[in-house]
């Protein structure tokens, strides 16, 4: 078994931030051009995805199914704008493919398909699937005493699915120290806030009660995410509750439920891109 050779230099915070800014802009253009997508969740997850792919995950985009790779599972499979952008940035497929997002016959379906696209571990879209599959991968690693780690990014509304807690219970029971789940805690689901819909809080207590270590961080703070995702002393499954803002980085999208699957007009896209550029310049 060969060991994957590619790993971004962990801790290079400015580079990861630049990747995140690019993912935000690219995903917004994809949603604008496709006239559909989930921009709110794309933007809330951008810093997490950039941190994972450019600061944490060990993989080789030329050998995407290398058995020794770390696995990243996108449980919130609707946020394909930012997922595809980060996979292209990481070298799994040409950036030009992003132009085909949701076009007829495209490999870039509205929800990811592992048969079409290298780098996708499992076909998600229906909620509540990514964590259970991630637990299965982690169990395989546990049986083999393998070195690889498994990361799952879940939405917060998705935690209303019972299958997530079936998986969480088993991961705690088996003490899967190779497993980390990141909750994109933007507090909004499709129709309304999570707390008014079917409250998740006290969320950290729930994960602890299921046998997990819990870390709460600002999900837009790359340095904090890097620290939270460092598995050096991990003895149990870890839940990183990443406090995020849905639509983060664009003033008129931020924390507004209508941008769950809203599509920006061309002037709105231009304004969004200008705001993101200005924020980058100011840093």
């Amino acid at each position: 078994m060969t060991t994957p050779g590619v790993r971004a230099a962990a801790g290079d915070v400015p580079a990861i931030r630049a990747r995140a800014a690019w993912i935000r802009k690219r995903s917004l253009r994809m949603v604008h051009d496709a006239r559909q997508g989930h921009p709110g969740g794309d933007l809330s997850a951008a810093d997490i995805l950039a941190t994972i792919y450019f600061g944490v995950l060990r993989y080789d985009p030329r050998d995407p199914r290398n058995p020794a790779r770390d696995r990243f599972v996108m449980s919130k499979g609707h946020a394909t704008g930012s997922l595809y952008a980060v996979l292209a940035a990481a070298g799994f497929f040409p950036e030009a493919d992003l132009e085909t997002y949701m076009q007829p016959g495209s490999k870039l379906n509205g929800h990811p398909n592992r048969e079409y696209l290298p780098g996708v571990e499992t076909n998600t879209g229906p909620l509540g699937h990514g964590l259970p599959v991630g637990v299965g991968i982690a169990i395989a690693g546990q049986i083999d005493a393998a070195d690889y780690r498994v990361f799952v990014l879940t939405g917060d509304g998705e935690l209303q699915e019972g299958s997530m807690w079936e998986a969480a219970m088993l991961a705690g029971h088996r003490g899967l120290a190779n497993l980390t789940v990141i909750v994109d805690r933007n507090r909004l689901q499709q129709g309304a806030g999570t707390e008014e819909t079917n409250a998740l809080e006290p969320l950290a207590d729930k994960w602890r009660a299921f046998g997990w270590d819990v870390v709460e961080v600002d999900g837009h703070d790359v340095a904090a995410l890097l620290e939270a995702l460092d598995g050096a002393r991990q003895a149990r499954p870890r839940c990183v509750i990443a406090r995020t803002v849905k639509g983060r980085g664009v003033s008129f999208m931020a924390d507004d439920v209508k941008w769950h699957h809203g599509v920006p007009t061309t002037p709105q896209l231009e304004q969004a891109l200008a705001e993101l550029d200005a924020a980058e310049m100011a840093r």
Partner: protein, 313 residues
């Protein structure tokens, strides 16, 4: 009482024995269960390979997804649970994580059909073929006896891709066959005959053979096909049957969407012939498996009557 009655077998034993043999030779093989170690007859597997027996507890959705994850981690996952819960409770996991994701997961539906008899329709698994058959890409195997069960499990371990194997607990005899060869996608012709064809699966195959024997005594020559693969269907065998005459299908399953439905789809669009589809009408009244079979004509007599009927005799 028939003193010549052949010995009857529970196909779960062949399933479990074969899986243990395979696991001894191949470290990639794992079993995933939902607190169903005993009912899947996997106590021996657990004793021999404890680290490869993954018990998720009573959580079928998680069981199927964990199987898909294990496959991602290079394992050959035999996901084993009562067929009623495995296929119905976890249907979206089967669709998204196993079939659509094209993972190397072997779904083993244990105690399928009406084996749980008096426990009632919640525990019967007589809709499973219908809802699984809609998903192209899932191989569906319904072995008819212990030998074929063992062959199906060996093929499942050998051939990459998603599969469903229906493993019955209903006692069945070992079928006598001239040619002991198992091939996925190939119907097994157990008896030749030119007047009509009986196409059966699983527990119904030996009954179909008994029906053909009885019909032969009346001068009706019925061919008997054991359709152990429901998907992909052996269309050549159906074409040959339709060219011969009427077809009677028989299955321990509802009459909508199962074996009969699969055969009828082909027959109606390629070579219309008269058909009878034998199976259960829907949710069933309280009764033992044997009583239910009797009540709905899933017996040698019932099958023979259907053949006479379709031949207008």
């Amino acid at each position: 009482m028939n003193v010549m009655a052949p010995e009857q077998f529970d196909c779960r034993d062949a399933y479990a024995r074969t899986l243990e043999d395979l696991a001894a030779a191949d470290p990639r093989i794992v079993a995933v269960v939902n607190d169903s170690v005993g009912s899947s007859k996997l106590t021996g597997f657990r004793r021999r390979f404890p680290e490869r027996l993954v018990n998720v507890g009573i959580a079928e959705q998680n069981m199927v997804s964990v199987g898909a994850g294990l496959a991602n981690g290079s394992k050959i996952a035999f996901v084993s649970g009562a067929s009623c819960f495995l296929t119905a409770r976890a249907l979206e996991q089967i669709k998204a994580d196993v079939v659509y994701s094209n993972t190397n997961v072997k779904l083993c539906g244990i105690s399928s059909g009406v084996a749980y008899g008096e426990l009632g329709p919640t525990h019967h698994s007589i809709e499973d073929i219908a809802w699984l058959r809609a998903m192209r890409g899932l191989t569906i195997l319904v072995p008819a006896d212990p030998w074929q069960t063992a062959e199906a499990i060996k093929a499942a371990a050998r051939i990459e891709g998603p599969m469903f194997i229906r493993v019955s607990r209903m006692p069945v005899p070992e079928l006598s066959r001239a040619d002991r060869r198992f091939e996925i996608g190939r119907a097994e012709r157990l008896r030749a005959g030119g007047d009509a064809t009986i196409i059966a699966m699983g527990t119904m195959v030996h009954r179909a053979l008994a029906a053909a024997e009885a019909l032969a005594a009346e001068g009706i020559d019925a061919q008997v096909l054991n359709m152990a693969t429901i998907a992909p269907l052996d269309e050549e065998a159906i074409a040959a049957a339709a060219a011969r005459g009427p077809i009677v299908t028989v299955e321990e399953h509802v009459v909508r969407g199962g074996l009969g439905g699969a055969v009828a789809e082909w027959v109606a669009t390629h070579h219309p012939v008269r058909m009878r589809i034998l199976g259960f009408p829907g949710f069933l009244p309280t009764g033992s498996a044997a009583w239910l079979m009797e009540r709905y004509g899933l017996t040698a007599d019932g099958i023979a009557a259907a053949v006479r009927d379709v031949l207008d005799r």
